[in-house]
Symmetry: C2
Subunit: 200 residues, 2 copies
DNA sequence: GTCTATAATGGGATAGAC
DNA sequence: GTCTATCCCATTATAGAC
């Protein structure tokens, strides 16, 4: 029996849509392509989703959450600041390197969402969320290394998000591993330069 | 006489297409919308351009070149490093703030170009060009301030492009001027920290 | 060269049999 | 609930009158 519940079908269609988007781009992700990828008849689409837009909303929510996940690496408390910073940055970068197409899709979906009045707010909230993750990631680093940042956290968090986002975008275009590593290393040096011993 | 040459019509259609893309997004920029914006009949399109794709190529080339322009501000040679750095960064940032929608379109078009096999290479070359501009901008700053950078220029250039690109993208989403300025200011501090007196 | 009318395609959505 | 067949629309592109 290959009978699936409506919820399972929704799930299948969301994942199929993501695969098609990664492979062919958002513009070419038609309802026909999605159901084809999922091995379902075209009619199945519209008793799982009211419209294509409703599916896209689900896709955007899922892919944007997935783009972050556990961003902080496991480092022992009390480790040297240098190790904490480098390990955290490399953990982020490994995720990018392992799923480049998925991250490219993240940018594409952000652009797409901004153009849909009903989805624009979702895109903005997502970047707000990214800022919060950046913020808490820096806090975790400070705690693990037993330091504090000499730059206000909101400013440092925004700069961090910008650096990582920008380096990611450039790397997605030229895939220059050596240069990306070198730039990330230099950013690590900067972070170390604004780490100060904690005040008691 | 409102007679125009074919070249002038091409020009009008390119500019009309850019206006529509800024207003409605790339996906909604149909040939009908473009000729409508230009005040031309639909038929005019296809004796100015072989296809929609050909127009898009022209649009991408133009908008990407326009996104840069004179990136370096006019600063007197021998000015203090701090002034050179801050003036240059503010010149860049003013451009963003004055034409936010155009810059958002730049990101959208980069994504679009990457999905078109014939345009993907154009997108990559453009980021290569951005890296070169970043490189030469840093060189100009060093010369004006009479310093040299203690970080290898290719690394510094990639980091600079990343920072500016990333901060731009975040600001385009949340339009938080104060936070963007603060982050840019902190990046200026970083640049000053890697500026060293020139060796003779 | 210029424009109108129309072709040809592919899309989202739905009707209705099972 | 499930799927087939179909509708209806918007799109790019072209044919052909002027």
């Amino acid at each position: 029996m290959t009978r699936r519940s409506a919820d399972e079908r929704r799930e299948e269609l969301i994942e199929a849509a993501i695969r098609v988007m990664i492979r062919d781009g958002v513009a070419r992700t038609t309802t026909r392509a999605i159901v084809g990828e999922a091995g379902l008849p075209l009619g199945a689409f519209h008793y799982c989703f009211r419209s294509k837009e409703e599916l896209l909303q689900s896709v955007i929510e899922r892919i944007m959450v997935r783009a972050l996940g556990p961003a902080v690496a496991s480092v022992a408390e009390g480790a040297p600041t240098e190790e904490v910073v480098r390990t955290t940055l490399h953990a982020y970068w490994d995720r990018i390197r392992q799923h480049p197409d998925e991250h490219l899709l993240t940018y594409e979906l952000t652009q797409y969402a901004l153009r849909q009045p009903e989805l624009a707010e979702l895109a903005r909230r997502q970047y707000q969320h990214y800022l919060e993750v950046s913020h808490s990631s820096l806090e975790t680093m400070a705690q693990l290394a037993g330091i504090e940042w000499s730059v206000p956290l909101p400013v440092l968090a925004r700069l961090a998000l910008g650096v990582l986002d920008g380096l990611t975008l450039t790397w997605l275009l030229d895939r220059d591993d050596a240069q990306a590593d070198a730039a990330l290393e230099e950013y690590a040096n900067y972070l170390l330069s604004v780490a100060k011993p904690r005040q008691h």
